[in-house]
């Protein structure tokens, strides 16, 4: 597989799985207002994944949904950071949000310079949405300040930022649940 498609899938998988994990807070976040705000972030991430899968899909001759749902667990290229199930730990959630947005900003910057105009254009669009995510992460980071839970979570999660390769057992559980309806009637339209 071309190097570029690999990179696109890596980012798409990160966004998909992180969006999945973030959407687990919908309905049970610490504050109602935050619930609404955080859900938008999760939706944006899934939206980014979809757009990236569509781009990669054109190269590979498959649809975005096929890439998102119909691969085997070992074919996903997401980092261990995004695979972790963090609900109901809000400190860890914010820590991951903060760390991820920082790393992602660098990745997006690189993609914006891509020779592939479609990819560069998509990266620019994603970046404009991510600006709000970064603001949100910073806002919480500042608010929680010296909270020891946050410091501890940052320390624990930082090494996982670009840890790829083997998946966590949690990822396999997520994959099972994520694909359960689709696998129940292979080939059906939903």
């Amino acid at each position: 597989m071309r190097d570029q498609v690999q990179k696109i899938l890596e980012m798409a998988d990160d966004e998909l799985i992180l969006g999945w994990r973030n959407s687990e807070w919908t309905g049970i976040a610490p504050l109602l207002e935050e619930d609404v705000a955080f859900s938008s972030i999760a939706q944006n991430e899934i939206g980014h994944a979809r757009a990236l899968y569509e781009l990669a899909g054109r190269e590979l001759g498959v649809t975005a949904d096929e890439l998102a749902f119909d691969r085997q667990p070992e074919e996903y290229r997401c980092s261990r950071l995004v695979e972790l199930r963090l609900v109901p730990d809000w400190a860890a959630t914010i820590a991951r949000h903060y760390l991820y947005e920082q790393a992602d900003a660098e990745r997006i910057d690189a993609l914006k310079q891509s020779d592939d105009l479609k990819l560069a254009g998509l990266a620019a669009k994603i970046d404009r949405e991510e600006a709000y995510h970064r603001m949100h992460a910073q806002m919480w980071f500042d608010r929680l300040g010296d909270e020891p839970r946050l410091a501890a979570a940052l320390e624990e999660l930082r090494p996982l930022v670009d840890a790829r390769g083997e998946h966590t057992p949690e990822f396999l559980e997520l994959w099972e649940e994520m694909t359960s309806v689709r696998r129940s009637l292979a080939g059906a339209t939903w």
Partner: protein, 110 residues
């Protein structure tokens, strides 16, 4: 806006005013609870703009909004309102008068 400016729980109340389309007036849309201005803006943006339904928002701490709902008009001040000018009767009479002098109203005209 006499309701409490501090919420029972986590923070302050911020009122949100919403402009649906450019050129329209800002109308009160609701309120959000937040610890500070920064959070209030983020939350207002989401509650009143996530679906592109607003062109712009104003976010204001509740205590900064002062309501006035009592006005004194004891002495029928209709001189500066439209209802102070019932012209129908006068207009009727003026028309009648003009009809009796078909060539104008110059005083003493033959």
């Amino acid at each position: 806006m006499g309701a409490p400016s501090h919420a029972g729980g986590s923070g302050l109340i911020y009122e949100v005013f919403r402009q649906e389309r450019k050129g329209q007036a800002f109308a009160h849309a609701g309120s959000v609870e937040a610890p500070n201005e920064e959070f209030a803006e983020a939350y207002a943006r989401e509650q009143y703009g996530r679906r592109g339904e607003s062109a712009a928002l104003w976010v204001v701490p509740r205590e900064a909004v002062h309501e006035i709902d009592d006005f004194a008009d004891e002495l029928q001040k209709n001189y500066h309102r439209v209802d102070g000018y019932p012209l129908k009767e006068k207009l009727g009479r003026a028309r009648e008068l003009a009809a009796k002098s078909p060539h104008g109203l110059s005083a003493g005209a033959g």
